[in-house]
């Protein structure tokens, strides 16, 4: 219905291969970016920024990272949080130990460190697949936080193992307000999402998907399986690493290695599943669903109970929220096992065909 594509034709491959070949999509994305970059910082409260949007973006980035590995390259991983931890701690240490280190470089180095670790833990993927690989990545999930706790050098000998992120300053400009932090995170996430989209539509992305879909055939047409899988691990871990750094620096400000636990890894895996395996958009939708929906529900239930003058026993709304949230997850998975992105795709397809059904 909203999609009126008549008259949109492509006369070059460049036009056909652009990111958003449909004009309406392009406008929508531009509008979204304008709102995200201009509207939100101008109007959103610090609650929205700090409590909703920054974590959403950070988790979206981590989800993107896991989606690259799991959704595109088909390698199941339960070590996402560990790679985030590596990124966070590495960025902290680069910042701490190298005087004058620009913060963005620290983030990148944090990501690269995570990528290296990712490659190391990706090595088993050459021999094992699926469920077994997931178990192997669990090793990362247990080993890395343990190591970070064990070797207190990583937390600069902090008594509690907690690292407190340094203030963010780029070229003398302090990113100290929620709006500034949000803009920084948004920029990084936007650039990395674009890069991810580009990768998955380039030869490396096709190699990932080829390995995912049919590895023998991929090998037969000349794709080096090992190389491809390890790149997927590296890129994925890089994304998770940067997400971890942002989690520490722009979101919580201080993190302890134990915060990056299996629970978090699973949360991110849920984001991938709910959002859509093998979809960039899905990573955002999934992150939004898992991070924002509980909060919305919580507010809705609390305010709702207050509005209706229900004097609910304390903790009741929290319980109700969990129940509703869980039910919604199941509901969505039944309606569309392939995730929200697929739901969106179907909706879009319907809108393109509107008023016809098929």
């Amino acid at each position: 219905m909203l999609y009126r594509e008549s008259g949109q034709f492509k006369t070059t491959y460049a036009a056909d291969q652009q990111l958003f070949p449909i004009r309406q999509d392009r406008y929508a994305v531009l509008l979204l970016l304008a709102v995200a970059f201009v509207g939100i910082p101008l109007f959103a409260s610090s609650y929205w920024l700090t409590a909703l949007l920054i974590p959403f973006l950070v988790f979206a980035l981590a989800t993107l990272g896991l989606n690259i590995l799991t959704g595109y390259a088909g390698q199941l991983s339960l070590g996402t949080a560990a790679f985030m931890a590596v990124g966070a701690v590495a960025a902290y240490n680069f910042q701490l130990r190298i005087p004058g280190m620009p913060i963005l470089v620290s983030f990148i180095l944090g990501g690269l460190t995570s990528a290296l670790i990712g490659i190391a833990f990706g090595l088993p993927s050459l021999r094992i697949k699926g469920f077994y690989l997931a178990v192997a990545t669990l090793a990362a999930q247990f080993f890395i936080p343990w190591l970070l706790v064990k070797v207190s050098w990583f937390s600069n000998n902090s008594a509690s193992g907690v690292i407190t992120a340094q203030p963010i300053e780029i070229l003398g400009f302090a990113f100290d307000t929620p709006a500034r932090k949000y803009l920084l995170v948004l920029t990084i996430v936007a650039v990395m999402a674009l890069a991810a989209k580009n990768m998955v539509r380039s030869s490396i992305g096709r190699a990932w998907m080829a390995v995912r879909d049919m590895d023998v055939a991929a090998e037969v047409i000349g794709i080096r399986i090992m190389h491809t899988k390890l790149i997927a691990f590296a890129v994925s871990s890089f994304y998770c690493g940067v997400a971890g750094a942002l989690y520490a620096f722009a979101y919580l400000g201080s993190v302890e290695p134990d915060g990056f636990n299996l629970d978090l890894s699973f949360r991110i895996l849920f984001m991938v599943i709910i959002g859509g395996v093998g979809s960039i958009l899905g990573s955002f939708l999934g992150a939004a669903f898992i991070t924002l929906l509980p909060i919305f529900l919580d507010v809705l239930l609390t305010e709702g109970a207050a509005a209706l003058n229900l004097n609910l026993p304390s903790g009741m709304t929290s319980m109700a929220q969990l129940v509703v949230f869980g039910a919604l997850i199941i509901f969505f998975l039944i309606v569309e096992p392939h995730g929200l992105a697929r739901l969106w795709q179907i909706l879009k397809e319907k809108l393109r065909l509107w008023p016809f059904p098929h």
Binding site: T11, D16, A195, N198, R206, M209, D213, A217, V220, I221
Partner: protein, 280 residues
């Protein structure tokens, strides 16, 4: 991109000194020498030798389980034979990695379609050109300069294959959604995208009706003719084999029981007994 509607030189046209079907069959491109292959004691292939000449269409026939697919798997390195050698383009191998085979110009299709189900037809074909792509990860991530150029160049090449195989209408459809017959075509396309010198086709016409088989035959013949690609083909439809192949190898229980022109094979008693049956 400037409008250059016909970037590839068109195939040699008819009428003007066209060579009237006389494909120039050349020297031996591939020779399989005394190959034996066994899986845990079960012999799949026993002492098989045959050769394939350049520009030739070579069929391999035989009953189910005769070892035909295993033979292809040996040629492109999916299996490593216990004995024997493979000579390809002057080089001798006792074993070959699939990746190596691909770089040397051997491409293949599979009996049970091995497409990348989650990807579109276009992407499947583009994947076939992965070996031709050089740009680094960073260039890909930012879709800049060389990568962008490369993507567009390869897209154009792939479009010619799409056109060649007449699968324009499904270009952007995920292959998993396509009917079987079209998937077979796409798989051929993916193999062609690699611009192979030797193309191994494992039952490209299985599960097709006459019309689709006719199309597939045309494609195989056109590939052979226009690009000069050498083709090794496993096929059960004797009509197809007899019509389009230059020479035929017959396998039965892992042994070679016949080798020659279609007519030779058709009249070979061992072949009739083991495979063709009386009705043919």
């Amino acid at each position: 991109m400037s409008a250059s509607p016909h970037p590839n030189p068109p195939p040699p046209a008819a009428g003007e000194g066209a060579h009237n079907g006389a494909r120039r069959i050349g020297d031996v491109l591939l020779s399989v020498e005394n190959i034996s292959l066994a899986f845990g004691g079960v012999k799949a292939l026993t002492d098989i030798s045959f050769d394939v000449r350049e520009h030739e269409i070579r069929a391999i026939i035989g009953p189910n389980g005769a070892g035909k697919s295993s033979m292809l798997n040996c040629i492109n390195g999916v299996y490593t034979p216990q004995q024997g050698r493979i000579r390809f383009d002057g080089q001798t191998f006792t074993s070959m990695a699939p990746h190596k085979a691909a770089t040397m110009g051997i491409a293949r299709t599979f009996q049970n379609i091995a497409l990348f189900k989650g990807m579109s037809v276009l992407d499947n074909l583009m994947t076939g050109r992965n070996l031709k792509m050089r740009s680094n990860l960073l260039a890909q991530a930012f879709y800049v300069g060389p990568n962008r150029r490369e993507e567009l160049e390869q897209r154009e090449k792939v479009e010619h294959i799409i056109d060649f195989l007449q699968i324009e209408s499904v270009r952007k459809t995920p292959v998993g959604r396509l009917p079987y017959g079209v998937q077979k075509r796409v798989e051929l396309g993916r193999a062609l995208a690699a611009e192979p010198r030797l193309l191994l086709l494992d039952e490209p016409m299985a599960g097709m009706n006459i019309e689709e088989k006719q199309d597939m035959c045309r494609f195989v013949l056109d590939v052979n003719d226009e690009f000069g690609t050498t083709i090794v083909l496993i096929e059960h439809d004797m009509g197809v084999v007899m019509d389009i192949s230059d020479r035929v190898v017959v396998l039965d229980y892992g042994k070679k029981i016949g080798d020659g022109t279609p007519d030779d094979v058709r009249n070979n008693k061992a072949v009739i007994d083991a495979y063709l049956g009386v009705s043919h």
